[in-house]
């Protein structure tokens, strides 16, 4: 499963240029509102619960898989009692990753008085956060797509903190693989540099690893030269957190250059099929139990995986093994939280409920605690653990025994 935070940062620069289309089309691709009711009374006691849904659904840079997961979860919920008997509805606002589109969607949600906004993926959504916060509307999702939202007291993300993706693999390298030198490849944008400076470098220092960072042009990279430079440092492990296509290319480049050391490909998964046999042995992280490999998975999570696969096979089978799992999980987690509200479901009650999440088991995932202390500098993170998988025979096989937490390395 792709590491969305790596996508946030690296894809930010890719999307920046993809806005070539978005700038002309931000009018069209963004804000194609659904026919869902926007009446304030939708949040009243017996009507549907309408939440805002923000996603890059169409256009040049689209991630329909995120939308598919959320819709599949919504349909599943409606067939299984909804939110305390009330159907769940989405007020969709689709962006193209631009700030302008995110601001427009935020304005729309505020105007519609939605009680909460669920985010699939929206690279420019940091701009939406202060607008929503100003109106008291919380933002929820699986992973934060920007530093502003990851540190906002009014945002809640049910996946692992983004920093965990830069740190947990280092822990595994050190204690499980006994690696002493690692080179991290990152895109040249402020977010990725922030991850290096704030997370992976301090963690490597704490673990006693020899660590070096190599930066590449995120929009038009020379993958072979980048990997070549990383190999030239003498690293025993290559490590990167990047968008899926970049992961695929980096893995391919490493194999082309006959690299024999360990490769940690963030939370990517598309390379498994794309790179074929070259993907074997590569490590990849996930903050959810992934479909297909249930060995070592707790019983409750196994059932949830089955629910997910069945729902997705019914709604959008082509997206089952992608990011849809993230939004399915976060939609179910949000529904669980909303179920606890007895009375009016509005921004105020939702915000209070979210702040009180403690020990809630994430759907297909780990225990959640939204106390703002799961990861330094990421107040919005409600979890911090990752499972490290290794690819064998075209499948991800669990390498670590469950979730690994490493926030102590950066505290």
């Amino acid at each position: 499963m792709g590491r969305v935070v790596g996508k946030v940062t690296s894809v930010a620069s890719v999307i920046g240029t993809a806005l070539l289309l978005a700038a002309c089309t931000v009018t069209g691709s963004a804000g194609a509102a659904s026919r869902a009711s926007t009446d304030k009374s939708a949040s009243a006691n017996r009507g549907p619960v309408t939440v805002g849904f923000l996603n890059e659904q169409q256009g040049a840079v689209a991630f329909p898989t995120f939308g598919a997961g959320a819709q599949a979860a919504r349909i599943y919920l409606d067939h299984h009692g909804g939110i305390d008997g009330r159907p769940l509805r989405f007020l969709d606002c689709y962006t193209d990753g631009s700030t302008a589109a995110a601001v427009a969607c935020a304005n729309r949600f505020v105007a519609a008085h939605v009680p909460v906004v669920l985010e699939g993926i929206s690279i420019g959504s940091d701009a939406a956060v202060p607008i929503l916060a100003g109106a008291g509307i919380p933002l929820v999702g699986h992973t934060a797509f920007g530093n502003v939202q990851s540190n906002s007291p009014d945002a809640f993300f049910f996946g692992a903190a983004t920093g965990a993706y830069d740190v947990v693999p280092l822990e595994v390298m050190k204690h499980d693989l006994h690696i002493s030198a690692v080179t991290y490849m990152a895109a040249t944008n402020p977010q990725d540099r922030g991850f290096v400076d704030d997370d992976s470098k301090p963690a490597a220092r704490a673990l006693g690893l020899r660590y070096q960072a190599i930066y590449y042009n995120g929009t038009s990279p020379n993958f072979q030269a980048t990997v070549g430079a990383a190999i030239a440092t003498g690293a025993k492990a290559l490590f990167f957190t990047a968008p899926e296509p970049t992961c695929t290319s980096l893995v391919a480049a490493a194999r082309t250059l006959s690299y024999k050391g360990a490769i940690f490909a963030g939370s990517c998964s598309a390379f498994i099929k794309a790179d074929g046999a070259e993907a074997n042995g590569v490590f990849t992280a996930s903050d959810l139990y992934v479909p297909g490999d249930t060995k070592g998975v707790p019983a409750a999570a196994k059932k949830q995986l089955a629910v997910y696969e069945k729902a997705m096979n019914h709604y959008a089978p082509q997206y089952t093994n992608g990011f849809a799992q993230d939004t399915f999980s976060s939609t179910m987690d949000l529904a669980t939280a909303l179920q606890r509200i007895h009375g009016k479901v509005d921004a105020k009650t939702v915000l209070e409920t979210l702040r009180r999440i403690h020990g809630q088991k994430s759907f297909m995932g780990q225990s959640l605690d939204c106390n703002g202390k799961q990861w330094p500098g990421e107040r919005a993170a409600c979890a911090s653990g990752l499972i490290e998988y290794q690819v064998h025979g075209g499948r991800r096989v669990m390498y670590t025994k469950g979730f690994v937490n490493a926030e102590n390395l950066v505290k």
């Binding site: 890719v14 999307i15 920046g16 240029t17 993809a18 806005l19 070539l20 289309l21 002309c24 089309t25 009018t27 069209g28 691709s29 963004a30 804000g31 194609a32 256009g59 040049a60 840079v61 990753g97 631009s98 302008a100 601001v103 427009a104 935020a106 304005n107 729309r108 105007a111 008085h113 420019g124 940091d126 701009a127 202060p130 100003g134 109106a135 920007g146 530093n147 502003v148 540190n151 040249t188 402020p190 977010q191 540099r193 704030d198 960072a213 038009s220 020379n222 993958f223 072979q224 030269a225 070549g228 430079a229 030239a232 296509p245 970049t246 695929t248 290319s249 082309t256 250059l257 006959s258």
Partner: protein
Amino acid sequence: MLDELGVFVVLGLGIGVVYAGLGLSLLVTYRGANVVNFAIGAVAMWGGYVYYGLRSVGRLYLPVVGIPSSISVGGPVPLWVAVIGGVASAAVLNLVAEVVIFRPLRRAPDLAKIVASVGLMLLVQSVAAVAFGSQQLVAPSILPSASLALGGRSAPWSDVMLLGIVVVVTGVLGAYFRFARTGLAMQALAEQETSVALVGRSPSRLAAGAWALSGGLAGLFGVLVAPLVGLNTVSDTLYVVPALAVVLVGRMRSLTATCVAGVALGVFQSVVDLLKTMSWYPGWAQSGVDEALPLAVIVAALALFGNRLPTRNDVAAVDLPAVARPHHPWWTLGALGGAAAVALFALSGIYRFGVIESVIAAIVMLSFVVLTGYAGQISLAQLAIAGTGGVFVAKLTTAAGVPFPAAPLLAAMAAAACGLVVAVPALRIRGMQLAIVTLAFAVTVEQFLFANSAFDPPDGLSVQPPRLFGMDLAVRAGDDVARSSFGVLVVVTFVIVAGAVLLLARSRSGLRLLAVRANEQAAASVGIGVTGAKLGAYALASFVAGLGGALLTYSTGQFSASSFDALAAGLPFLAFAYLGGITSITGGAIAGVLAPAGILYVVLNRYVNNLGPYYLVVSGAALVVAAIAYPSGMTGTVRELLARRRASHGLVPAGADAPRLGDPPSAPGSLSSPGAPSAPSAPSAPGAPTAEPGTPALSVHDLRIAYGSTVVVDSVSFALFSGEVTALIGPNGAGKTSILDALTGFVDARGSVRLRGEEVLGMAPAKLVHRGLVRTWQAPTTFGDLSVVEDLTVAARRPRRRVSAHGFYRAPGDDGDPVERALDLLDLREVADRPTSSLSLGQQKLVAVGRALATGPSVLLLDEPAAGLDDGESRLLGRRLREIADEGVAVLLVEHDMDLVFGVSHQVLVLHMGGLIAAGDAASVQSDAGVRRAYLGHGAGEPSNRCQVTPSVVHGSGGR
């Protein structure tokens, strides 16, 4: 270490081949059709996608949407079929683009072509996104995956093979253009389309061939490198920037240089990646250096190859839509401001926010109006400059605590400083080349500034809301997403900026700017400081853009780099400015309405649902259609329609029926009637010095002019005397105009030129004009957007103090305005208010003479002023020239009209093959046998059909 270096040299070959291949494609289109196709990266990308579709999916994808856009071919095809399919698809796509888009734009302004290629880029990207999705695809390998062993390290053989392929392609292309008849014809097409047609070649077919060839090349390299760099709708498009850089290194001419530069650039970038691993490599240079390299290459190329001023043989200045200056500017401003205010208060919520964003966008668009519309500079960096305003206002308010309004004003000043950096290359280049440089600059600013964590930290860069005198002007509060107070701030700012732009348009500085826009040569030749005008335009436009960027940042609450992205946002912004009308305030306002996140965006967002993924395609297509159908932009088109309607209803502009110069008079005693009584004295030449007749005004000694190794003028010496007309005659190519160019600072020369004793050879044209040495040009050089009186006004000098017996231009207490006197002297009074572009050729020539006179010259150099005049006009000109000389001006007349020459000249110089072969009065020159042989030919001296200008008709002192 050497082995390591060798590996990185090899690793850089792949990407270098991309640059070289796209550079070759660009060059083929440029050489064959004189178009820089910004969409070439997208075309290459399309070729790669089609290859992928055939090889991996088993479908042939077509560049269409809505109808079946792919055809099953029965499963994945063999490699060679897929490669040919990809290449052919790109070639066909480019060919269709030429026929449908660029052929109708062949005579359109450069700006229209840039907009059209931007639209094409959007179209191709969006079609690819519809067909293949947005995720990056991994294309199947084409070349063997064997590794090359380099001292214990591995490098892919495929990169070396790619190098071999691009070298072979370059060689084949070179041979084609050099030896193949069609190739030679294609090269000639770019230089002389008419001549190519006259030898029986079809320019349209040749251009189509060039486009198809270019597309095929792009497709070939798109297919070859797709397995290396991956397939996505973004990266390939971006390669156009380094491709443009290497084309410039090749001086937009050399295939070999382009190829070598492309490969070298890729290798250099790869070696930099190796250097980044060294312990001594500075941390601040870890990012941004790669992206800055193409700009560095461009700047270096221009420093070496660019010229400051266009030379005589350069194509004239960028052809842009006509400038619109409203007849009632303050009404226009009031209407625009009023409309914005009404919309602001009539709407609320997201609609009011849309109005605010539109007005902010209109402010940024006004910077395009100043820079591109008025100054003729095609800059693709304006939005990046606006972004600098956004970064600085955020930094100033948060880090330095600078309050409003100081913060946005300081931010705008920082943007103006940034704009002056962009202006430097603009002093040497123009048109498409300038567009390329500014695009590279914008990309570099984006990487070094916007992506720099020192300026834009990972946590984001917020901005403190504006407050003024305790009043909260923040854009939003709580549920109110668009407060009217912020809206008022934005509207007021727009009105002030638009008012300033209107004042500029009507001011003398504005006229000078329009003169520079129309013809830099002519502007320099009348003393207008071209450098100063351009720098001023860049500074003002950048200030305005910076202000817009600051307001945009206030509206979003934080700085957002994506809003100022060079390609994603910058190019469409220019396109919208063009669509609205880039030469008028109203056009800027309309562009603001169309701009992203503006009111139109919000309305479409709300009422037009389910546009689906096809909206991108519609947007790109709309841009292309607009560029073809509305080259003057929406406001320009409306204006033209209204003008045509007025004309069809008989509402012709005043002065349209004014008699042409030299027409038969309606009253007796006309100056133009042969044998008529002497006309009353014409008004004296404006500003003519009262130097003593016979005093050398200009002395030329041993003048030598060479173009490269070709000497065109050698050891020429002569003198011009105040109060006399000296003619310089000679066959075509003798060097006459070169002498004028050298005397007035437009070409380099050796020897000595003394103006009233002061050595002036090599002095800049504007300085010479200030000293009283002025020229006209062979070709009509009016400033098309100006009226006749404005054309003269732009050159007119203020009264000057007497500085020496021979050195002043207007005697103290001299009467009259030089412009008025020039109008009367040359009988241009009746056409004074007409646009110069509407005059006959002869009248335009006289306007040019009048402009020169308005500067108050002591030495006047005229280059074929009678060309295009009829007999009557020519005679009148002759009389006027003697009158000008009688005022003490030294006149040098370059002419082919021998009746005029021998009728008015005090002395005649004969130039032949770069040297003077005779000098003397008319009679002695006419009887010189050598002159007869070289120039006058058999029958010289026999009566001509033209009316003889006899000495009795000519006033003033006699010849020497």
